[in-house]
């Protein structure tokens, strides 16, 4: 996908409670609750920056910003 913006997903592990809300609200299945009941960022490349996860994370544990590193 040329020209498509990419995003950096920052996750504050020590604030996260692995509640799975990000998993439920993300339209792109970026997150997963893994076998250890832990939140995991599995498909960061699919992120479209919609901020659903950020706005619904009750623990302020997510931040999604446009990745300008390769721009």
């Amino acid at each position: 996908m040329p020209d498509r913006k990419t995003y950096k997903i920052a996750h504050v592990r020590k604030w996260c409670k692995d509640c799975g809300i990000c998993v439920a609200v993300c339209p792109r299945k970026v997150f997963e609750i893994d076998r250890n009941d832990r939140q995991a960022i599995v498909n960061p490349q699919d992120c479209i920056g919609c901020q659903m996860c950020v706005e619904h994370c009750p623990d302020f544990a997510l931040n999604v910003t446009e990745d300008k590193s390769d721009a």
């Binding site: 409670k17 799975g20 998993v23 706005e55 994370c57 623990d59």
Partner: protein, 262 residues
């Protein structure tokens, strides 16, 4: 969004995994930010309950009072220093059970405070008992056979008491929530926003609402925008809750009754 008003040194917060309170808190912090208010002049006041712990995570002056008593404390603060923006963060139990009288009187007096109700349909902090907003038939620790008491409709209640701004929103609808929180805080006079939040630990579990993610996403199904609801029949709306702005009476010009007149 920068979260400059978040007291991040106090995180992680005390709430259960998946509790909706943090989502309301975030929206509050964002609304204050977007409104460009002087944060030195904001006081957040709360009662007792899980939700009432929210002020501790804001970097404003915060006053955690007694169960049900945030509103009279807020009233005292506001009247003592009208320059301040006074915001009450409260639970459905805190505001409408033990605090019900203060709620309706603040609405009647049109004190210029904003009341944000974290409405999770039960008493979270004490272990999931029924609140005056628990829907009929819901299971809680004090309604093991399903609630038979009718709940208040906070919108009707506060509108009936004379509130000049009343809205309802849900935590799934973050933009809607933010908009209405901003309008409520900006409103001159008494304002209330009934925010449908979630308590997966008790209400969700007892009523088989699924996990936190399911609970939040399901708001899409049972919360209906007022504009949409206005076009629907009561039957179509059965089991649904309508969100939107219900009362918005602009403040009157000069004081209703000039001193000399009486």
């Amino acid at each position: 969004m920068k979260m400059s008003n978040l007291r991040s040194e106090r995180l992680p917060n005390i709430w259960c995994p998946g509790c909706g309170n943090g989502i309301v808190l975030r929206s509050l912090l964002e609304s204050v930010e977007q409104l460009g208010l002087d944060t030195d002049k904001i006081v957040v006041v709360s009662g007792i309950g899980c939700s009432s712990r929210a002020p501790a995570y804001t970097n404003f002056d915060n006053v955690h009072t007694l169960h049900g008593r945030a509103i009279p404390v807020a009233t005292g603060i506001k009247l003592a220093n009208p320059d301040l923006t006074v915001i009450v963060l409260t639970g459905d139990g805190d505001s409408s059970a033990i605090g019900g009288n203060h709620l309706i009187h603040a609405a009647r007096r049109d004190v210029d405070i904003t009341v944000i109700v974290f409405n999770n349909f039960n008493y979270g902090m004490t272990g999931g008992q029924a609140s005056p907003l628990t829907p009929v038939a819901s299971v809680t620790t004090t309604t093991p056979g399903g609630n038979t008491d009718r709940p208040f409709d906070l919108v009707n209640l506060t509108a009936g008491a004379g509130a000049t701004y009343v809205a309802r929103t849900g935590i799934y609808f973050t933009k809607h929530m933010l908009d209405h929180l901003k309008k409520a805080i900006a409103h001159r006079g008494f304002s209330l926003v009934d925010v449908i939040a979630q308590c997966p630990t008790y209400f969700g579990r007892f009523n088989r609402k699924g996990d936190a993610g399911q609970m939040i996403v399901s708001q899409k199904d049972w919360l209906v925008l007022k504009s949409v609801a206005d076009k629907k029949s009561p039957q179509e709306l059965a089991g649904k809750i309508v969100i939107g702005e219900f009362v918005n009476i602009p403040p009157p010009g000069p004081a209703v009754v000039p001193e000399g007149q009486v």
